[in-house]
Amino acid sequence: MQRLALLLISTVSLAALSFHTAAAEKSTDVFFGEAIFYANQAEYFDAISRLDTELGQYYGLDDPGLDSLHLLIDNAQFSVGDFELYYRMHQRAGRAIKSVIEGNVEPAVRNKAIYRLAKILLQKNQPVNALHAIEKIEGELPDEVRDDIAYIKAVIFMVNGRPTDAIEILTGLQSSDTHGGFAAYNLGIALLQLNKDAEGIAQLDKAGTSSGSDEGTKSIRDKSNLALGYKLLESGDPALAKKYLYRVRLDGAFANRALLGAGWAEIALDRYDRALVPWTMLSKRNVTDRAVQEVMLGVPFAYGKLGLHGKSAILYGKALESYDTELAKLDASIESIRDGKFLEALAREELKQDSNWVIKLRDLPEAPETHYLMHLMASHDFQESLQNYFDLEEMRKRLLAWERDIGAYQEMVNIRREYYKPLLPVVEKQFQFLDSRMRLRIEQRDNLENKLQSMLIAPRPQFLATVTERIDGVSIAKLEKRVQHLPKTNEQRQRVDRLRGVLDWNIYTQYHDRLTQAFKRLRELDGVVADLKEIYRSFVRTRQAATQSYEGYDAALNTLHIKVLEAQERIKSAMLGQGHMLESMAVNELDIRRKRIEGDQVKARFALAESYDRAQKKQLDDEYKKAAEESAEQARKAAEQAEKALLEDAKDKAANQETTRKEPK
């Protein structure tokens, strides 16, 4: 069951990758898009960090509705949960997604969140909670995750021992592009769980012959055939079992198990010579594989059954030699792990660039310990622990860089302070002078506008007289004083009155044009005042930026520095613990393999002795037989000689009697 769950969870993870794409397609917020850019490259730390920052700023806005993230906020919440899930932060991812489920959201959105929560719970090995979660899904299902939801539901049912429910869903998923292959395999397993052997076998047979040339389909075919072969072998049908076992590819991940099983199927049919075909092939493969080590006893066993006890004894001897070598290798590996070489080998950067880095570890001459650890390294617990170790190492490097950065920022702030602090008071003084002048001018302008506005209601032509007119007016007033004592008919006085008349005429008749002109100039002045105000604001901002470039950072930088140092300590301690755990897992695994080889060694010794005895007994039997045959031959020859002698004696006697008759006395 656990094995099955592992297979299925890995598939679910693959399916989840499409979420980034789905989220990205709708993204119009560049910061959200940036987080997706990192997530698509599996750089989840950066993705979470950026999206967290963006979400923090969004929730800090006075009016978040105006932000470009507003329309995508549900998606962003999901995505941060998803990224956390990929970054193995199950606790936080679970909480983030739960908060969305409990919120007031549309059924499609809610169902998607429930699906993700169920996936987390399944990965955390909490199948009952996953079942409770998935059963809450109701109503509309989002198209892009419809098959994913159905598939994970089937998985959860199977893990919770409800194969009947799973079968119904898996049957419907047979034609799914993304999950069809896995659904076909799991449907077979579910039917077998229900003891519907005939149907289960037929289904696995179908899965084992499914069409497709991609590696995933090939692996599903191999796995189906292998599972079916061993199932039939277990239920006592070796003839049919070998048909499926021989279908498994010879270069796939399941090849060794299949070859081993095929050999045992032939043995069960008493076809020892046929068993030697797959077993001999298997025995030439990598000796660290458990199947290869098992077959090292199988091959001589088959030879023994064929009566070739001598050959069998020789092969048992070779197996013993190989076991000795492997035990020495295992001892060296355990020693190497204890010296810390294992973690060093795992942490090699150049290996991590390759997706098959676990396999490549085998080729490292200085990492013998990894030869035996392929299966362990593929296990979920080991992978989780190993990834945690890598994540800790990555965070350690980040913190080191940040520590350096913070130091540089502190210095930068000090340099800015030293530069700006003496300059700012001088600038401030000049600013205050200009500020007071500017305020005065603006006040003047405002007064002017007030006057013009009032002239719209009560015309005041004199206010709009030109400078010349005003000077002329003053001169005329002086002349008027001088001629006021003269009679009105006086020519002098009449001339002065005409001058006054011309001046007033011009001022009064041109009043409206002048007022319009004045308003026009006031608007032009407004433009200049606006520019002045912008320069003023810009200056204020620059002065503020200069102050802010060094003020208010000290406390924040010091706090961050302390946090970085604390985190470094915690990481150091966690890395020790995680590293020790990985080493213990590896040593335990090697110890188990060691014990198995020791068991095989004991069996090989007994089998060798038995084969030797049988070979020797056969040899003795042959010698006895040969001696008996020689004795019989000798006896036969002696009898023949005796008979011959008797005959000759009889002949002699007869001849003597004839001679006596011919010579009477």
């Binding site: 932060m89 198990r257 066993f301 617990d381 961050l560 985190a567 966690a574 897992m585």
Partner: protein, 171 residues
């Protein structure tokens, strides 16, 4: 012997028990500890990036340039150049991972820097390969206006036959 080995072979169906000395509880405990550390370090990362932005790229001078694909990216983008007021500010050569990330809807922040308020000229050039294998390169420029707020410029690039090869969007 046959029976023993056959049973051993059946271990395919058995559950692997690899570490008696390392319990599930220990694994879980350490995992939770690591998750807590991750949470704290992510918190530090967010605080630090906000502080860095304030310190290095204040709002009134900040400009950020983002790159995204307008479509599925029916071409292979090899490199991109960004010039501001005639001066090259960044040159980026794309990895396969980055291209895939862009094709799947990611948005790359290609440049963050400081400029004065007012009008500026931005010029973008890219070099790539078209679907049929020929060289596909384009250059386009646009006027941008920097105000008091941080300036965000999104550059959308498209393959041949998918509309404008380079589209500017100011935010």
């Amino acid at each position: 012997m046959l029976v023993f080995t056959l049973v051993a072979s059946m271990s395919l169906f058995g559950v692997r028990v690899f570490a008696e000395e390392v319990s599930k509880a220990q694994i879980k405990g350490l995992d939770e500890q690591v998750q807590e550390i991750k949470k704290d370090v992510l918190g530090i990362s967010s605080e630090l990036s906000l502080l860095e932005e304030k310190l290095l790229y204040p709002s009134n001078t900040q400009i950020s340039v983002f790159v995204s694909f307008a479509d599925e990216g029916g071409f292979r983008l090899d490199a991109m150049d960004i010039k501001l007021d005639g001066e090259e500010v960044t040159h980026h050569v794309y990895t396969a991972n980055e291209l895939e990330a862009l094709r799947n809807g990611g948005v790359q922040r290609i440049y963050t820097g400081n400029i004065r308020t007012g009008d500026h000229q931005i010029e973008v050039s890219f070099l790539g390969k078209s679907i049929i294998g020929g060289v596909y390169q384009k250059t386009a420029s646009s006027k941008i206006s920097k105000g008091v707020k941080p300036k965000l410029v999104e550059i959308k690039v498209a393959g041949q036959g998918f509309g404008d090869a380079i589209e500017f969007k100011e935010r």
